[in-house]
């Protein structure tokens, strides 16, 4: 359970997952933020105002899936690294997952990275489609990873090698 081991339950994830018909339409943000803490940079990050933290700063964010276009601006802005973008329309068999990344080395486009689950389990090696630097002040990279569609809601972190490779 999340409060005991840091791993959100199926139900937790279900509660923030866009409906199937919305996922089928393309990229959309998923805020895996389940605890009421005073925080709202995600709402400020969204130019389309698709993310709301209401009625006050302690509320958990709500993504309006009809307004969100999955641009991913929120991914690197969430201080808790808890927002991901999933695009189920990426290719025939693959979905694109955009996730925040703050380790070295930063993977290059075209390189394979090991996809990790919410509990840190290795789910396989997948191609990095894009690696966007967060810039001088933000510094959080946004990694776009092409994963099999059935893993789109499972892959939430990567490791690239080096000290965290374990090999």
């Amino acid at each position: 359970m999340l409060i005991q081991d840091g791993i959100p339950t199926r139900e937790d994830i279900q509660s923030v997952t866009p409906p199937a018909h919305r996922l089928a339409q393309g990229a959309v943000a998923i805020a895996e933020c389940f605890q009421k803490i005073p925080c709202n940079p995600c709402a400020k990050a969204c130019v389309k105002k698709a993310i709301r933290v209401e009625p006050d700063i302690n509320a958990t964010p709500k993504v309006d899936f009809d307004i969100c276009n999955g641009c991913g601006a929120c991914v690197a802005r969430c201080p808790g690294l808890a927002i991901f973008v999933v695009d189920m329309t990426y290719s025939g068999g693959e979905a694109l997952v955009k996730l925040p990344f703050e380790f070295l080395p930063v993977p290059q486009e075209g390189q394979l990275a090991c996809g990790l689950s919410r509990s840190g389990e290795e789910l396989g090696w997948f191609p990095v489609v894009k690696a966007v630097s967060g810039g001088k002040r933000n510094m959080t990279c946004t990694i776009s990873l092409a994963v099999p569609k059935e893993l789109a809601m499972e892959v939430r972190n990567i490791k690239v090698g080096g000290y965290r490779d374990g090999r």
Binding site: I3, Q4, Q35, K36, N40, I57, A59, C78, R156, G162
Partner: protein, 371 residues
């Protein structure tokens, strides 16, 4: 020779820097004394992004917030900052003594804001004095301030925000984290911190404690065990964790010595994490003109410390006659910001502590209970 100043701020962390800037913005002249050689307090090692709202620089990393606050204070014509300047004592005749680069200074401020922060707590277990058993904040200083790799493999004790954040920062520094153990049945820190650590492969185990550390001359490992619902070790659940470093992240305690020594009304309030000076709505202690802001009056996030600093700064400057009406409005705005930060479940503990403090204050002032 005694130097006269309008407002003295003791401590150049988030609360002290914000207090100085707030008071100076209304026209007051401020002298800020910081014991270390750079202003910023513990923000200088906080590489993670802060929560809160824009008003508390949410989304910025602590290191950048520290630099922003320090630059603003350094560049303000009304603020003078002394570094390597530890405030030693606050005396009945209004004199405050300071050790400044091995010189003994005497200062007579009209108002004093104590913003000395907090210290890491220790934990009792066999062999807890072995070299390699450090405060989590100490390890953060070694790696994030000095760039020294603090360990090869760490056991983190405590899953509050500091334990979770420092574990993540250890991974960023290339250190292996064997796991985070937490005696309580629940993770105490923000769950987003726990989740990002968990998906990097670090186990978090609630209901576990450290039974003993071992090693010949230096730390070589620890024995951990499960706790039952009465916090008693469960026999047969012992596990050996090999590690060269144990980080203790078992809470902070207010550094309130100056307030004790000055003779402020003090109270032990568990929810505020220890002995704290009892303060009023202006963060003024029982000694008129002596304010306390930040962790010293209750352990909270740095975002709250910044707002408390501003509140005390406005109140102190206003009381000296600097734009009293504007000071009152700004003070009120800061109070509302604090109320908002503390209004959710994450603020319940601090609110319970502040209610206890308010009851003690009311008793002192002979008035009715807290409103």
């Amino acid at each position: 020779m005694i130097r006269e100043v309008e407002i003295l701020v003791a401590g150049g962390g988030p609360a002290g820097l914000c207090a100085a800037a707030a008071a100076a913005s209304l026209g007051a002249k401020v002298l800020l004394c910081e014991r270390s050689d750079v202003p910023g307090g513990q923000l200088v090692k906080q590489t993670h992004k802060f929560f809160g709202s824009e008003k508390q620089y949410a989304g910025d990393r602590g290191i950048h917030i520290g630099r922003t606050l320090a630059d603003a204070a350094v560049n303000h014509p009304n603020i003078e900052i002394l570094t390597d300047a530890a405030v030693l004592g606050i005396y009945e005749d209004g004199v405050v003594t300071v050790l400044y680069k091995n010189q003994h200074l005497k200062i007579r401020p009209k108002r004093t804001i104590v913003a000395t922060g907090a210290a890491e707590k220790f934990l009792a277990f066999p062999n807890n004095d072995l070299p390699g058993i450090y405060g989590a904040g100490a390890v953060q200083t070694l790696m994030n301030v000095h760039g020294v790799k603090p360990a090869e493999r760490v056991l983190m004790v405590g899953a509050g925000n500091i334990g979770l954040i420092v574990s993540y920062q250890l991974l960023q520094a290339g250190v292996e984290v064997a796991g985070v153990i937490e005696a309580a049945p629940r993770i105490g820190g923000y769950l987003v911190h726990a989740s990002k650590l968990r998906r990097a492969g670090v186990p978090i185990r609630t209901g576990y404690t450290i039974k003993e550390a071992y090693g010949n001359g230096k730390l070589e490992g620890a024995v951990i065990c499960r706790l039952d619902e009465n916090w008693k070790p469960v026999p047969g659940t012992e596990e050996d964790i090999r590690c060269d470093t144990i980080c203790l992240a078992v809470g902070l305690t207010p550094l309130a010595e100056l307030c004790w020594q000055a003779g402020c009304q003090m109270a032990f309030i568990r929810e505020l994490s220890g002995h704290v000076p009892v303060v009023d709505g202006n963060l003024e202690t029982s000694i008129p003109g002596l304010y306390a802001a930040g962790d010293i009056s209750g352990i909270e996030e740095a975002s709250a410390a910044m707002v408390e600093g501003r509140l005390a700064g406005y109140a102190a400057a206003g009381s000296l006659g600097y734009e009293p009406q504007k000071a009152g409005e700004l003070r009120q705005g800061a109070a509302e910001e604090l109320a908002e930060l503390r209004s959710g479940p994450a603020g319940a503990r601090i609110m319970a502590g502040l209610e206890k403090a308010a009851a003690l204050l009311a008793a002192r002032k002979g008035g009715a209970g807290p409103c």
